[in-house]
């Protein structure tokens, strides 16, 4: 039947807790991303200041945002899998 999902998704007891964790991590990342945008808007000259190993803030912050997204993804998956294993087993 066309209106049904391609596959049936089982009940997820951990959905609420996973959603809460997702919102917390989203807010944390948004604050850090907003910091990057705010520096660009208000004090763009700060972006050119060299920090570690001759790299400027623009590079460190930019690369940092990309790497942080990957790390936070792994953390999120670790805790979600743990919650699913605990709650869906019960």
């Amino acid at each position: 039947m066309l209106h049904e999902p391609a596959v049936t998704v089982g009940k997820d007891n951990a959905a609420a807790r996973k959603s809460k964790l997702g919102v917390i991590l989203f807010i944390a990342y948004t604050i850090i991303y907003s910091g990057f945008v705010l520096i660009g808007l208000t004090k763009p000259e700060i972006m050119g200041i060299q920090l570690i190993g001759g790299q400027n803030i623009a590079i460190i912050y930019g690369f940092g945002l990309i790497v942080l997204a990957i790390i936070m993804g792994f953390i999120y998956n670790y805790f979600c899998t743990k919650m699913e294993n605990e709650m869906d087993k019960n």
Partner: protein, 640 residues
């Protein structure tokens, strides 16, 4: 000649196209049901789906557009990489699992799961179509750009070829073949971009990009009472002088051949510096540096003016590490080529003058987006920047062709895991874009007429083999993304509109056929748009698609998931307001004014990126309308 056709390039290109079509015909035999056509049966492994996500997402905008933007505007192009990747955080933490839980085949299904509202079905289907078409335009433009050097065909032929192949892919096997095309292309793109980056680092930085690099002439001008009366080299004759935006351009003639120079004046002397230029007469004749294009007088450009290592000037660095590469560019000086257009009598003249730029300015925002007071930034410049970063962050998780990929996996856990694989692959690729873009900027490979070709031309400077492979992958990149977009669009027409909104009774087979015919229609429409929008930077165009998606779709998705008072009417109205306001602002923006042949400064809305206005408008509409229609809310069906 910047572009020459090679047999190897044609063989590699045809092999990739053959592989893609072979896959499609193979899967076509297995695709008999609607579930198979729209969602690949929901049985794709999360690892494959994750790489396919990357293949879907890393479109022509990412490889061609971002590399090109970085090559011309430095760090400002990298802002797109950061924003595009950050958008996946919204997808992973807020959208991925609920979308999988609520949806069936399309984004509209998920949005309508709670309400069963006709107004949501209609507006979400229209929104899917509009966003997908906005996203399709740059892919088709990029395809056209690619076939010019790869196969020696005109731009429009490239657009037609891509359109035809994609129609075949989608019309044969729908989401299954699309998934594997995207998987293969995503993997190949990352592998060969890594190879290209390793080559750039291994080559290091040098003042002479290659032995054939053009040495630009510089000659002293004789100035009397602020007027150029001659040139120190008597073989030059001064023909005419033009002042454009406080810059003086001078047309000189030597031995019957003319060329445009730029006047650079200091207190002690005035020099004239050779430029690249094209001149176009009213009958359409176009000359490149005063000669037909085939004469090869229009050079590839982009070089370093000074290389500073440990405070000393050097001619070359030798192999460098990834961080050393960035620091050396930051401490050095780069010659970029900036564009000006003016009229000389009946001729339209476009010049590209040498613009010596400090590495510190290249390696931070500001060359494209004016942000500091020193650069003359206005409030609108800052709003443009804020608007772009907002749209990129919020747009990803609202793109219908990305969202439908959640229905190709078996569970919420698989949806989450495939998103994480996608973030890792895409994040790694976006870091590489900085190296590929900067590498192109300083390697004397740029074709000033096509920023989109910076990446492939960098590969060409290494060898025709790598160029052929990279171009063929870039072409496959377009195929993969366009396939996803056409699946999403055909789903919007056949599944959301014809089947669910109009409720026309159809058998399962008829539904698949409706999807296929819709795919053909959208494909033909995309071909026409690709030809019409030739010459625009593909990343800029994709930025606009993100803005429309973030304005029309994201408020609806997030409020549906996180605000219990959301009503069907609230969602439908917010989608309409998001679409109308974002497209309205785009149509009256400076860039579009330029496209219409009008003066950009006269545009009534001085914003190129609409998100900063259209996203809040859409959110406010959703809240207000939902609050006003509370009595119809909860499980009640408003529209039936």
């Amino acid at each position: 000649m910047i572009y020459e056709v090679s047999n190897l390039a044609i063989i590699i290109f045809l092999s990739i196209v053959g592989l893609v079509l072979g896959l499609s015909f193979y899967f076509a035999r297995k695709t008999k049901s609607a579930a198979g056509y729209y969602a690949a049966g929901g049985n794709i492994h999360w690892g494959v789906n994750g790489v396919a996500f990357a293949g879907d997402y890393l479109s022509a905008a990412s490889f061609l557009g971002i590399c090109g933007m970085i090559a011309y505007s430095g760090y400002d192009g990298f802002l797109y990489s950061i924003g595009y990747l950050a958008g996946w955080v919204v997808a992973l933490f807020l959208v991925a699992e609920p979308m999988k839980r609520l949806g069936k085949y399309t984004f509209t299904d998920a949005l309508d799961a709670k309400f069963d509202s006709k107004s949501i079905k209609l507006t979400a289907a229209i929104s899917t179509l509009i966003v997908s078409i906005f996203y399709l335009i740059p892919q088709m433009v990029g395809a056209g750009d690619l076939v010019v050097p790869l196969l020696g065909l005109p731009h429009w032929m490239g657009v037609v070829i891509v359109g035809s192949i994609v129609i075949l892919i989608v019309a044969t096997a729908g989401m299954t073949s699309t998934t594997y095309v995207q998987f293969i292309k995503g993997a190949l793109l990352v592998v060969f971009s890594t190879i290209l980056t390793i080559y750039i680092l291994n080559n290091g930085l040098t003042l002479t990009p290659n032995e054939n690099y053009h040495k630009f002439i510089s000659t002293e001008a004789v100035v009397t009472n602020d007027t150029i009366v001659g040139v120190s080299d008597p073989s030059f004759l001064v023909i005419t002088t033009k002042v454009v935006d406080n810059m003086v351009f001078v047309k000189l003639e030597k031995e019957g051949a003319s060329c445009w120079y730029k006047l650079n004046k200091t207190e002690s002397k005035a020099t004239l510096e050779e430029m690249l230029y094209t001149s176009e007469t009213e009958d359409g004749t176009k000359l490149y540096n005063g000669a037909p294009k085939s004469d090869g007088k229009f050079y590839q450009v982009g070089h370093l003016n000074k290389i500073i290592v440990d405070g000393k000037e050097v001619e070359q660095t030798g192999p460098v590490g990834p961080f050393e590469f960035l620091t050396t560019i930051e401490n050095s000086e780069i010659v970029r080529f900036s564009k000006k257009v003016f009229k000389d009598g009946e001729e339209k003249v476009t010049v590209w003058y040498q613009n010596v730029t400090k590495g510190v300015d290249v390696m931070k925002p500001g060359l494209l987006y004016k942000l500091s007071k020193a650069a003359g930034a206005t409030i609108w410049d800052k709003l443009n920047f804020l608007s772009l970063m907002l749209a990129l962050f919020l747009g990803t998780s609202a793109l219908p062709h990305i969202l439908i990929r959640y229905y190709t996996v078996s569970s919420q856990r698989a949806a989450r895991k495939s998103t994480i694989v996608a973030i890792a692959v895409i994040g790694f690729f976006y870091i590489l874009t900085l190296y590929m873009g900067l590498g192109a900027m300083i390697s004397g490979v740029l074709d000033v007429e096509s920023s989109n070709m910076s990446g492939p031309l960098l590969a060409k400077s290494i060898g025709i083999g790598l160029f052929s492979i990279i171009s063929a992958i870039a072409f496959a990149t377009v195929l993969g993304t366009v396939s996803g977009l056409i699946v999403a669009s055909s789903g919007a027409i056949a599944h959301d509109f014809i089947d669910k909104y109009l409720q026309i009774p159809m058998t399962d087979k008829a539904k698949v056929n409706a999807g296929k015919f819709s795919a053909i229609g959208v494909g033909i429409f995309a071909i026409c748009l690709g030809i019409l929008f030739k010459g625009m930077n593909v990343s800029f165009l994709v930025g606009l698609a993100f803005a429309v998606a973030a304005s029309a779709n994201l408020p609806a998705i997030l409020f549906l998931l996180f605000w219990k008072k959301t009503t069907a009417k609230g969602i439908a109205y917010s989608i309409v307001v998001g679409i109308v306001s974002s497209i309205g602002i785009i149509l009256f923006s400076p860039t579009m004014y330029e496209k219409y042949g009008l003066i950009a400064k006269n545009a009534p809305i001085p914003l190129d990126n609409p998100g900063i206005i259209s996203i809040p408008l859409s959110v406010i509409t959703l809240i207000v309308v939902s609050l006003l229609t509370q009595k119809h809310n909860a499980t009640k069906d408003f529209d039936r």
